[in-house]
């Protein structure tokens, strides 16, 4: 009970590193977006763990994670819109092919 905070932090670190590997290793753009969501989720887990077990526990960490979720939703919507527009233009969803600023 007294030392469960490091367990949450290590779980968050594991998820963050898996998300980082996925975001950099995968070629499919949708999977890259999903990995970024996984990294954001690991950050939320840290916020809420500190909101309960941190030195100064309060609800502010939960508020911050709510803002984080809102920004993540906006990012996912814009990302999928860009992907669909790019797919119409070039017919690919491979991040290696997305290397020009104009079409």
């Amino acid at each position: 009970m007294d030392n469960i905070l490091p367990s949450y932090l290590i779980l968050g670190a594991i998820l963050f590193c898996i998300g980082l590997y996925g975001a950099l290793a995968k070629k499919n753009a949708i999977i890259v977006l999903l990995s970024v969501e996984l990294m954001l989720n690991a950050c939320n887990l840290n916020f809420i763990a500190f909101a309960k077990y941190g030195p100064v526990p309060s609800l502010n960490g939960q508020i911050f994670s709510l803002f984080n979720i809102a920004v993540a939703a906006a990012e996912a919507a814009v990302g999928v819109a860009i992907l669909i527009a790019l797919f119409r233009q070039k017919g690919t969803s491979d991040v290696v092919d997305m290397d020009s600023m104009r079409h």
Binding site: L5, Q62, F67
Partner: protein, 175 residues
Amino acid sequence: MIDNLLDFLSDGENIVFAILAVIMISSSVFMISFTKVVHMVVSLALVFLSAAGLYVLLEAEFVAFVQVLIYAGAITILMIFGIMMTRHDKQDEEPKRPFYNVLLFVGAFALFGVIFFAIQDTTFAPSYGFEPGLDNTREIGLLLYREYVIPFELVSVLLTVAFIGSIVMAKREEE
């Protein structure tokens, strides 16, 4: 080692934490290693659902429900729509970049090692005891409309701009 583990698992909360953590880590590893894109999205939805379970464990019930609604509901469905609107007939071939992948794995593992030893070295100050209030949702609502009004309104503007922008961008061109 075994004694530490048994001591850790003597508490009911720790058992639930261990089960949810194992589900989260294994399904995120599955997400990385699956080859079909839809399977990846479904296993990521499992990660999001077990994260909601962890939030309930941390006495953040409102955030847990928001997590289920937005992550496991909206974002997963959005990604599945994205997959359906961009064809994936040839997704099965893996990228042939072995040197890059090995280097990336070593880098990610080294980052995890740095964070792990930093966490192990830190002595965390003892907590004063979390007082979530009688009603978590009510407390969060009061805090949002009293102290965090300006960030709350800014987030609403951000969401409006993002959704209008994504509609404009994904709209079919008139011909």
